[in-house]
Amino acid sequence: MIAFENVAYSYGGGELLSEVSLRLAPGSFHFLTGPSGAGKSTLLKLCYAELLPTAGRITLFDREVRSLDRDEVARMRRRIGVVHQDCQFLDHLPLATNVTLPAMVSGRSSANEDLQDLLNWVGLAPLADALPPQLSGGERQRAAVARAVIMSPDVVLADEPTGNLDWEMSLRLLTLLVELNKMGKTILIATHDLNLIRAAKQQVPARVLRIAKRRVQLAGADL
């Protein structure tokens, strides 16, 4: 699905990530951890071509990212659902419309029942008509998760999806992602929450990637 070969990335100063090689196999479940500022969000942005590597190769769905033109990047992003750390909503549109945005821009009409089911699952059905700035941080995060999965994408990348949520709601979202994984979707979650990782490991064979000293390593089983 997603493969990094000797990838390096720098925002202009020194290298933030170096010699990163990894492979997210179809249907795999990964966590990405590391200290704040280590480059977790940056690595996710490389995965959906918001950033291009400064060295090395990134392959998405068997295509080298540099070889994709703008339309191909757009089509590729429809197959990757992303929960952004800062959510990225259109503030002038109600929550329900924001959640269906990926379907809208790809010309697909998402079934209304799917939307209702999804909003119910993340507990936002009563807030469907609210504008994003009127929502709490946790509500925004839940909406972001709903938007990431509405197109039933092949890959879901989630950047701190549970950062503002209570434990019960965190587990609820985790269950949603685990269910998607059981349907064969590839999942990558960046998080600091070790409890979340432990909970996931009881349900799926999740692996943990850790960013330390600019490198990405597979963390030991001791977590």
Partner: protein
Amino acid sequence: MKILALTQFLRGDKQADRVVPPSGHTAWLTSFTAATMTFLAVFALALSLAAGRLAERWGDALARSATIRISAPAGQMDAQTRAVLDVLAITPGVERARAMDDAEQRALLEPWFGPNLPLDALPIPRLVEVTEDDTGYDAEGLRQRLAAEAPGAVLDDHTRWRKPLAVAAGRLRMLGITSILLIGASMAAMITLAANAALAANAQVIRVLRLVGARDAYIARAFVRRFTLRALAGSAIGAVAGMIGVALLPSADVAGGFLTGLGFQGAGWLLPFLIPPAAALVAFFATRFAAFRKLKELT
């Protein structure tokens, strides 16, 4: 196929339009610009049409011909005619010179004197028809030479004074057409500026749309449709206002003359209706160009 795409474009996609937030003042700016530009274009159009009519009318009268009238005693008539023809033969700028025969002269005079004019008995002047070439001749020089060679000859070039007027009318028409083109170009420039402002103001919206998988064409369409429709609406208002202005000019029949003949005539009244679609087309391409260029800069 093309037409289908156009009607689809105009009908639009309600949802797709909403992804770009409404943008108060730039909307007004575009409509207002289109309205004023169209208002001006209607006048430029009226001006160039009127100037064109004038150039045609005056140009026709200018058949590039003049006449030389020779009045001489019967005995000298033939000699002077030959002298005039000799002078004309060596005058630069004269393409052809021909003395009219009696039958022709009789035909010319018939309307005034009736058919049975005894030409031989009357001291009728002899007429020589002069046709100039493209460069034209020096009328004053010719007059002096004629005075020397044939004292009874008078050069009558009464239509020549119109020549500069016909040229001026032609220039005026060119000026009108140039103005219309410049007005179109200014409108394109202003709409490009307004579109760029709208695109910059919505950079975050565009970023989000790109992140959820929108193609450039989808994002551009939302802006292009908006600006095209605004330009169309503004231009329609401007065209109607301009046509009311032209219609209120005093009519040509009353006073006659150039300024009062400035209105549209007959089918000419349909031409201003072409301006709003043209303005919409200008807006379409200006916004499209600006949008695709801006989108390439973002993400």
